[in-house]
């Protein structure tokens, strides 16, 4: 009788294991993503070198490096390509984006992250121009069958005269109007910006964050980037439960 019980329990465990294994095998638990990080110095980050197929080499720190570690936790082959260019305005970005999207290096891309506008504001460009140009970039990305993710502009305590609030309002409304996922970097980071710029990062100012700040930016991006559909969400919830 006792051996029968043990037999039944063992059999149940075996069946359950096979069942769960099958679910894990055929569900999207493991996936990889290719992401392009497009922007200015807030994307380029610090001490980068060599622009190749993977964008800029890792360098000391920048948000794409941190973001890649996050997305790799979901899929070992995920990559985040750094296509940030320091000092670039959105009108310059509009022209450069074509080159990036048409590159043979970027034939299969899942998302393009768009963070630009701080240099426009520095040059006193009207926020309406930022809105227009980001809208153009969104359309260009979508025309390639890629999903864009838009971000609000991060704080700048060195140049508080910037029309940052107005620009970010425009960006939020643009995301809503075009149905684009928004990573609200400003709202997420502003309360802690002092800590993200003290001690100073490699740029030595309060516009560019230090390594903690770039890490925080990566977190905001990661939380915003849509996750691939999961076949058994209840299972993922179960597995994710600590």
């Amino acid at each position: 009788m006792q051996s029968m019980k043990i037999y039944k329990i063992t059999l149940t465990i075996c069946v359950l294991s096979i069942f769960l294994g099958g679910i894990l095998l055929f569900s999207d638990v493991g996936f990889s993503q290719t992401i392009i990080a497009f922007g200015d110095s807030l994307t380029e980050g610090c001490e980068v070198s060599i622009l190749g197929c993977d964008g800029w080499d890792d360098g000391d720190y920048n948000y794409p490096v941190y973001l890649e570690t996050f997305v790799n936790a979901n899929g070992p082959d995920s990559t985040v390509k750094n296509f940030g260019k320091g000092g670039e305005t959105t009108s310059e970005g509009v022209n450069r984006l074509d080159t990036v999207l048409n590159s043979s290096c970027n034939l299969k891309v899942d998302y393009v992250l768009l963070l630009q506008g701080t240099n426009d504001l520095f040059h006193h460009e009207d926020p309406s121009v930022i809105r227009f140009n980001l809208g153009v970039m969104i359309d260009k990305v979508r025309a390639k069958g890629i999903e864009p993710v838009l971000a609000t502009i991060t704080p700048d305590w060195d140049n508080t005269w910037k029309e940052l609030d107005k620009a970010n309002e425009y960006i939020r409304s643009l995301a809503s109007e075009k149905g684009v996922v928004l990573a609200d970097q400003y709202n997420a980071l502003a309360p802690y910006w002092y800590w993200y710029t003290n001690p100073r990062g490699c740029y030595g100012d309060q516009l560019h964050p230090n390594s903690k700040g770039f890490y925080a930016m990566a977190v905001v991006w990661f939380e915003a980037i849509p996750k691939p559909p999961v076949s058994f969400p209840w299972l993922m919830l179960l597995l994710d439960t600590p």
């Binding site: 009108s91 310059e92 509009v94 074509d98 006193h124 009207d126 121009v129 227009f132 100073r200 100012d205």
Partner: protein, 287 residues
């Protein structure tokens, strides 16, 4: 060919210099405060040789934050192999920015810039003559959001200005000129459109014609539009080589004739300007 109104935007360059060599605390503080929007005027550009020669004194205007005075507009000229002591042209409690200057053969120096308050952005100007600097005055454009003003003085010593203003949704390019008593009513430099028109620049060609260039969005990208004032009207410039040259005049162009060199002295901020033709660099003490 004479080019005037060449702006050099330096600040993003400077913070990189300091972040890497930054042990000069005072300079760092000053530079963080500066919006080093420098303007060079009176630069000769020999088209074939691509060399640069000074015709007269080099004029420099910039906006900078001085202690206790907020951000103001300053002027200096390179005279007798040295920079003159900077003159503060604005005394505004509001934000002033994007200065530009030009001068003719009559000894007058015209300086324009933008002033921003809660009601919008406006263009101010002043002129240096035998009686000294005129108290800054506002140009009544009748349009909101006036920014990015450029200026050039033609061979008749008439100043022309071009700037961006928002008459509808996006910035558009407007121009005006001094009629001896005041500024003519602003005129739109292009057909009304639904795209941004930005970064106007003015120049004189070898024939003395006024050239007006700017960037506009066309067919998925930003392109340079250039036109020349001939026969009392603007004519579009189609010559590609001329367009390439005018590209250099666009505000923010990276291949400027003058570039910041370096700054030294922990107690006094000095800006060194290096000419790209290898003429060396000379200091300008800011304060």
């Amino acid at each position: 060919m004479r080019y005037c109104g060449l702006n050099i935007l330096l600040s993003s360059f400077f913070h990189k210099i300091y972040s890497r060599h930054g042990s000069f605390l005072f300079c760092t503080i000053v530079l963080m405060c500066l919006i080093l929007n420098l303007l060079l005027s009176q630069v000769l550009h020999a088209q074939k040789a691509e060399s640069i020669k000074q015709e007269q004194d080099t004029k420099l205007v910039w906006s900078a934050k001085n202690y206790g005075q907020g951000e103001q507009i300053y002027y200096s000229s390179f005279t007798k192999n040295k920079w003159t002591t900077p003159v503060q042209l604005s005394h505004s409690a509001d934000l002033v920015f994007q200065p530009a200057s030009s001068s003719g053969t009559d000894g007058k120096v015209w300086v324009v810039w933008s002033r921003q308050d809660k009601n919008g952005s406006f263009i101010q100007f002043t002129v240096y003559s035998a009686s000294g600097w005129l108290q800054p005055r506002q140009i009544n454009t009748g349009i909101d959001n006036n920014k990015a003003v450029a200026i050039i003085v033609d061979h008749d010593n008439t100043p022309w200005i071009a700037w961006t203003a928002i008459d509808d949704i996006y910035p558009e390019i407007f121009w005006s000129r001094w009629n001896g008593q005041g500024w003519d009513l602003p005129v739109r430099a292009h057909d009304k459109n639904k795209v941004p028109d930005i970064q106007p620049a003015l120049a004189l060609d070898e024939s003395g014609n006024i050239n007006l260039s700017w960037q506009t969005y066309l067919d998925g990208k930003y392109v340079i539009v250039s036109q020349v004032w001939k026969g009392q009207q603007w004519q579009t410039v189609s010559n590609e080589s001329e367009k390439i040259i005018r590209k250099k005049l666009i505000r923010g162009y990276k291949g400027s004739f003058l570039v910041p060199d370096f700054v030294e002295d922990s107690r006094k901020a000095s800006l060194f300007i290096k000419r790209t033709d290898g003429a060396g660099s000379l200091p300008l003490s800011l304060f």
